[in-house]
């Protein structure tokens, strides 16, 4: 099979062929970018938060007493929660990955110096690390003597008294590139704080442009009237433990409001629900585009087969095999789709540049172009197969008929 007759025949259908090429290139450009965005979204969705996600349940409790003493209240509540069957460990915290309770601090390496990074503050009672199931990759946990109250009623002045901190690997790499962060000192406020441990990974309570995993964990005790209790249990016990915990807390001290009672999995799901619906829409759009393009290819091929019945018959009468005819239409399709993909590649990068400008999308890797191209080649061949087979079955006798 040689190209020239195919090209010569396409030249007689310039407009139609051009339209098909245009459609293929548009589809290619959009589908490549969709595949790339899809990958980004799925990566986000799968990002590990750093906590034992399947084993945690959360309750937010607000003490309504006018003369409430939060530190004492939290201790009493936690003691009662720990007695529940199935509770492995319990802690009171403020910030958690995905819970939007974000307190971020600019960190400097010298007093009143520039702040190379801002990090979210995680605080909690002494069992926090074990309850959340954080992965301490370097250093040690906190000592009982290191805990200070957060000071939420006094402008969170705990940050000026806390002696040590545990930071995430990402933050350590940002603050001390190429060095060991352990034992180094940072200034979240006026006083120096020594780094005694490194955890990895751990996400911030809400997304940030600069580092979603810049976290400082401080041995500070939550002391506001509102606090989040985190219970660690077995995945299958979560629902029961949550219900029992709520009943226990209300029984212990009725003058409170319990809110946002949920498993960590639920918290994560609601955090990502927009990304999930976006993923669904992206898949639907890509499928729709490919489907419509396949319809277009099949429709045109069908028309061309009907139009060329006589010439096919003549070629068959002159000795062309069915295989030759089949190949002819397949090569024709390959030619059109390949030209479309070539233009589509240029368009795809153009589109990607627009997305980079307006949606902070990174540069499109070649890999996604390959995906789009392969999908279109396969789809094109599949769509043309039916009409091509029909063409191949045109009997040579057609050549002898006049209409």
């Amino acid at each position: 099979m040689s190209f020239p007759p195919v090209i010569a025949s396409l030249a007689r259908h310039k407009l139609t062929a051009l339209l098909l090429i245009l459609q293929v290139s548009l589809t290619c450009a959009i589908v490549c970018n969709i595949a790339f965005m899809l990958n980004g979204r799925i990566q986000q969705l799968r990002q590990p938060s750093g906590v034992a996600e399947d084993e945690l349940v959360l309750l937010e409790s607000t003490d309504l007493d006018e003369k409430a003493q939060p530190l004492i209240r939290h201790d009493a509540d936690l003691a009662a929660l720990r007695t529940l069957a199935g509770v492995k460990s319990a802690a009171a915290v403020d910030g958690l990955p995905f819970n939007f309770r974000d307190w971020s601090n600019g960190l400097s390496l010298i007093p009143d110096g520039p702040t190379p990074a801002a990090a979210s503050v995680f605080d909690g009672t002494p069992d926090t690390l074990a309850t959340l199931g954080l992965h301490l990759v370097e250093g040690r946990g906190f000592l009982p003597s290191e805990y200070v109250p957060l000071g939420s009623a006094r402008n969170w002045n705990g940050i000026d008294q806390v002696p040590v901190t545990i930071i995430t690997r990402a933050l350590a790499d940002k603050l001390f590139p190429g060095q060991d962060a352990l034992g180094k000192v940072i200034y979240p406020d006026e006083k120096p704080v020594r780094i005694v441990g490194v955890v990895d990974p751990l996400l911030r309570p809400r997304p940030h442009d600069d580092g979603n995993d810049y976290v400082t964990v401080f041995p500070m005790l939550p002391d506001a009237n509102g606090v989040t209790y985190v219970l660690r249990t077995s995945p299958q016990d979560r629902e029961r433990v949550l219900a029992q915990a709520a009943a226990t807390l209300n029984h212990l001290h009725g003058n409170r409001i319990l809110r946002h009672m949920q498993s960590f999995t639920q918290l994560r799901d609601s955090f990502f629900h927009r990304d999930r619906s976006m993923i669904g829409l992206l898949i639907a759009a890509a499928t729709g585009l490919l489907f419509v393009t396949a319809l277009g290819i099949a429709g045109l091929a069908n028309f061309w087969v009907q139009q060329r019945r006589r010439s096919i018959g003549i070629r068959r009468a002159m000795g062309a095999t069915r295989r030759n005819i089949l190949r002819y239409f397949q090569v024709e399709n390959l030619l059109i789709v390949s030209t479309g993909i070539a233009f589509g590649a240029v368009l795809a990068y153009g589109l990607n540049m627009l997305l980079m400008q307006h949606y902070e999308q990174p540069r499109l890797p070649m890999f996604y172009l390959a995906i789009g191209a392969t999908a279109l080649w396969l789809l094109g061949q599949l769509a043309v197969l039916g009409p091509a087979l029909r063409a191949a079955s045109v009997p040579p006798v057609v050549a002898t008929r006049t209409t």
């Binding site: 407009l15 339209l19 459609q23 959009i30 600019g106 402008n155 976006m278 759009a285 585009l289």
Partner: protein, 433 residues
């Protein structure tokens, strides 16, 4: 002639049932997807205060130190410090001005049956109500004197009022917010502008409605809990009242462009005056955003939704290219018929109109399908837990726009094929048959 062309179109559809169905399907899907997204964006970019929004402005003055790196995007942080808000309030250079912030409080119903519950509202200054022209069902807002006196007064929205007092008149009665009794001075008539433009714009800008409003100074005195972002620089001092923490929203009402430019000049003067006191180290650059511009700057319509609109429009574009190609082969296939009509005296224009009508009929059918697709799309949007979900309804203009879009799309798609087909020479085609 129109009827005859319709008849011809019908014959043509019959001859290529599958091809016609495919074209209608493609137009329907493309238009339906586009109209779903256009409708969602249309309801989300609506004016929350029709008639008044043109006179409402957000003043932006930037007290941050020079060293702070600027955020990457152009979203402006208009949060104000307490001293600046008080200064602008006292200067009273606008027709109306108010400072405000969000807060949520535990509410204890007087009736024993109800458990205490959390409700979200706003702490505002007196001008808030006349400035935004909030509709009152009963009573009124409070005065600037009440602000000064840290009065324990509250304005309730309809839902909370109903929850607390049922249908009984509530003006003058008290409600306990956190640990303090507040006297109800006004009840709003279910006021819920969409989005809640006056608050910090975040993911919850749609869907939620503030249920109580109480004086900002009172909230500060009682140390009530605040919601929302607070950005601080420098160290020490009382964060809320200090001049190094920005957290308040500030709105002004300015009747007319002249007043707006006057106010802009006043802001510049204020900036320079503060510089003389060692504050506002950045170059003088006050900004004044009109309400609708402000919503645009704050991305009240999430980027994802705009992306989805572009996706839908891209899909429609591919569908249209598809239809252009299909119509082209469909028309050219009837070259014989067309050349006979031309030979019998039909003008090019006649052929063009005939084929145009055929394309138009496909467009109308596609529009009907598109409408169904869009309704289904909006239905699925409404099932999402997003705050804007309940707004996703099609109104009459959108309905008409759907048909218009479908018709336009198919006529545009028919243009090129019809033009190509009407250039078929009259007799030549007859000979080759």
């Amino acid at each position: 002639m129109f009827g005859y062309y319709l008849l011809l179109a019908a014959y043509s559809f019959k001859r290529n049932r599958i091809l016609t169905a495919l074209m209608i399907l493609a137009i329907g899907l493309g238009v339906g997807a586009s109209m779903t997204m256009i409708t969602v964006l249309h309801v989300m970019s609506g004016d929350p205060l029709p008639g008044r929004s043109a006179h409402l402005y957000v003043p932006v003055i930037d007290p941050h130190p020079v060293s702070n790196t600027k955020p990457k995007d152009a979203t402006i942080d208009a949060a104000m410090t307490w001293p600046d808000a008080i200064n602008l309030l006292h200067a009273a250079r606008a027709d109306r001005q108010a400072a405000m912030t969000a807060g949520s409080l535990p509410i204890r119903p007087a009736q024993g049956a109800l458990q205490p519950f959390f409700e979200s509202g706003h702490y505002v200054t007196a001008d808030f109500f006349p400035m935004f022209d909030t509709p009152f069902r009963a009573g009124n807002g409070w005065s600037a004197g009440d602000d000064q006196a840290h009065a324990r007064v509250v304005v309730l929205n309809a839902d909370l009022n109903r929850k607390l007092f049922g249908t009984a008149p509530s003006i003058g009665r008290t409600v306990q917010l956190k640990n303090t009794e507040f006297r109800v001075v006004g009840v709003l008539d279910d006021w819920q502008p969409q989005p809640t433009f006056y608050a910090q714009i975040d993911d919850h800008a749609f869907g939620h409605a503030d249920q109580f409003f109480l004086p900002l100074q009172t909230a500060l005195e009682l140390k009530l809990d605040f919601d929302g972002r607070m950005g601080c620089w420098g160290n020490g001092g009382d964060a809320r009242l200090g001049d190094q923490c920005a957290w308040l929203q500030f709105w002004v009402k300015l009747d007319g462009a002249a007043k707006a430019s006057e106010y802009h000049a006043f802001l510049a003067d204020y900036w320079r005056e503060q510089q003389r006191h060692g504050r506002f180290p950045r170059p003088v650059n006050p900004q004044l955003f009109n309400l609708m511009d402000w919503l645009g700057n704050q991305h009240v319509v999430p980027g994802d939704l705009r992306l989805q609109l572009w996706l839908a429009l891209g899909f429609l574009g591919v569908c249209m290219t598809n239809i252009v190609a299909l119509l082209l082969v469909k028309f050219l296939r009837r070259s014989g018929e067309i050349s006979v009509r031309r030979a019998l005296g039909a003008q090019r224009r006649d052929i063009f109109v005939q084929l145009g009508i055929e394309a138009g009929v496909i467009g109308l059918a596609g529009g009907t399908l598109g409408l169904m697709v869009a309704e289904a799309g909006l239905w699925s949007v409404r099932r999402q837990p997003d705050g804007y979900a309940h707004l996703a309804h099609m109104d009459v203009p959108m309905l008409l726009a759907t048909f218009l879009l479908a018709l336009l799309a198919s006529l545009l798609a028919g243009l090129l094929p019809a033009w190509r087909a009407c250039r078929i020479a009259p007799a030549l085609q007859l000979k080759t048959q």
